[in-house]
C-alpha cells in the first residue's frame, strides 16, 4: 500500500479481507458447534466442545468484523460518488437544454402553421374569394398570436413524452 491516503480500492480491499476473516471465523465456530454433538463418537481427538456462551462470544466477534467491513464499504462507496456532483449537474443541464430544443421545435410547428395560413390567404386572394380571404386572415392572426405567445413563454420545460 502507498503512504498516501488510502484509495477507495484500498478501503474496499481492506473491507473484503475483514469479510473473508469473518467467513473463516464463522466456519470454525460452526465446526466447533458440530463437534459438540459428535464428540462421543469421534473420540477425544475431535477437539474440545464449545459452550453456548463461548459460541455466542465468538459469533459476536464475527459480527463485529462484518460491521467493520460494512462501515468501510460505506466509506468506499462514498468515495466512488464523491466526484460526481459536477458530471451529474452537467447531465441535468444537458437534459434541460434538450427540453429547450424541443420547445424551439414546437415553435417551428407554429411557424409551419403560419406558412399554411399564408398559403391559404394567398390562394383566397388569387382566387378572388373575399370570404375565404377573411377566414384565412383570421387563421393567420391566430397562428401569429400563438407564435408570439410561445416566444414569450418562460423557460419552463414542457412535459416529457417518455
Amino acid at each position: 500500500m502507498s503512504q498516501h491516503a488510502p484509495s477507495p480500492a484500498d478501503i474496499e480491499a481492506l473491507a473484503d479481507s475483514l469479510s473473508a476473516s469473518a467467513n473463516e471465523l464463522h466456519d470454525s465456530i460452526m465446526r466447533a458447534i458440530r463437534r459438540n454433538g459428535t464428540a462421543d463418537d469421534a473420540g477425544a481427538d475431535a477437539g474440545p466442545p464449545v459452550t453456548h456462551a463461548e459460541a455466542q462470544a465468538l459469533f459476536e466477534q464475527e459480527v463485529e468484523l462484518r460491521q467493520r467491513a460494512n462501515s468501510l464499504y460505506v466509506d468506499s462507496a462514498r468515495f466512488a460518488v464523491a466526484g460526481l456532483s459536477v458530471p451529474a449537474q452537467e447531465m441535468l443541464r444537458l437534459a434541460a437544454q434538450a427540453r429547450e430544443t424541443i420547445r424551439r421545435i414546437d415553435r417551428a410547428r407554429d411557424l409551419a402553421g403560419i406558412v399554411a395560413s399564408l398559403l391559404g390567404l394567398a390562394g383566397a386572394i388569387v382566387g378572388r374569394q373575399p370570404k375565404d380571404a377573411a377566414a384565412a386572415l383570421e387563421d393567420l392572426k391566430d397562428n401569429l398570436a400563438a407564435f408570439k405567445a410561445d416566444s414569450r413563454k418562460p423557460d419552463d420545460a414542457p412535459t416529457m413524452g417518455t
Partner: protein, 285 residues
Amino acid sequence: MRTSLPVPAASGRMLQRLFLLWVLAILAGCASQQRLTDVRAFAAKAPTLSSYTDLSQRYRDTWQREQPYLTPAADAREKTIDAKRRDAYPDFIAIHHAVVTYMRALGALAGGEQFDMDDQIKATAEGIKAWPDAGITERHVNAYAGLTRLLARLVGGRAQDKAVESMLRDGYEPMQASLDAMGTVLRHYDKTHDNERAIVLGMLDVETPFADNPRDRLLAVLAKAHRQDKAAEYRLLGLRHTAAARHVNDIQTMHQALARDYGIAPASVRVASPVNPSAAAGAMP
C-alpha cells in the same frame, strides 16, 4: 382587393425548388432514422435502472432488518454505520436521477413525434397544389420559399440528428463516469448484503443447535422455518443484485455503441466492467 399580374413560369420554377427542398430534407431524415431509433431504444432502457433505486433503499434500511438479530453491543455499533448509510443515500440516488433524466431527455430529443412535421408539410404542400398558377408574384414566392427553407432547416431529420449528436457528445464522459459509479456502488451494496445475510443466518445457525433438546423443540422448529424464509429472501436479493449490475452494464455498453455510431471519439475509451458484481475491483491484499 387587387390581384397581381400572373407570372406562371417563374412561380413554377420556384415551386419546383420548394419541392426539391422538401425532398432533400426528407431524404436526410431517412438516413438518420436508424440512429435515432437506436437512441430511442437506449432511452427506453432507463426504467431498468429502477432496480438501482430499490436496492439503494434496501441498503439504506439495512439496520432495520438486522436489528432483531443483534446484541445490544452490536446494535450500538450498527447505529453509527446506519447514520453513515443514511447520510450517503441522497448522493447514491442523485446519480441515478441525473442518469435517468439525461436518458429521458435524450430519448425525447430523438423522439419520433418531436421533429415529425409531416402533417404541416403535407398541409403546406396541398396549399401549394391548390394554388392557381396565375396570380403569384415572385415576391410572394420568395417569401414562402424563405419561410419554408427556415422550416426545413429547423425540422429536418438532420437537425434532430445534430441535436442528438451534440447531446451525446457533451454527455458522454459524465454519463460513463456516472454509470461506472453506479456499478461500483451496486458492488458495495452486494457485499454489504452478503455480510447482512451472514449476520442474520449466522446468528440462527449458531443458536439453533443449542435449542436441540426436547424442551426447546418448538423453538428449534420455528428457528429452522424462519431460517428457510430468510435464506430464500437473501437468495432472491442476490439475484436482484446480479440483475441490477447487468442492467447498468447493458446501458453502458449501449451508450458506448451509440457514441461510436455518432462518431464521437471519446477522449479516453472506457470499457464496460464485466457483469459479475461480486468480483472485487481491488484484489485481496
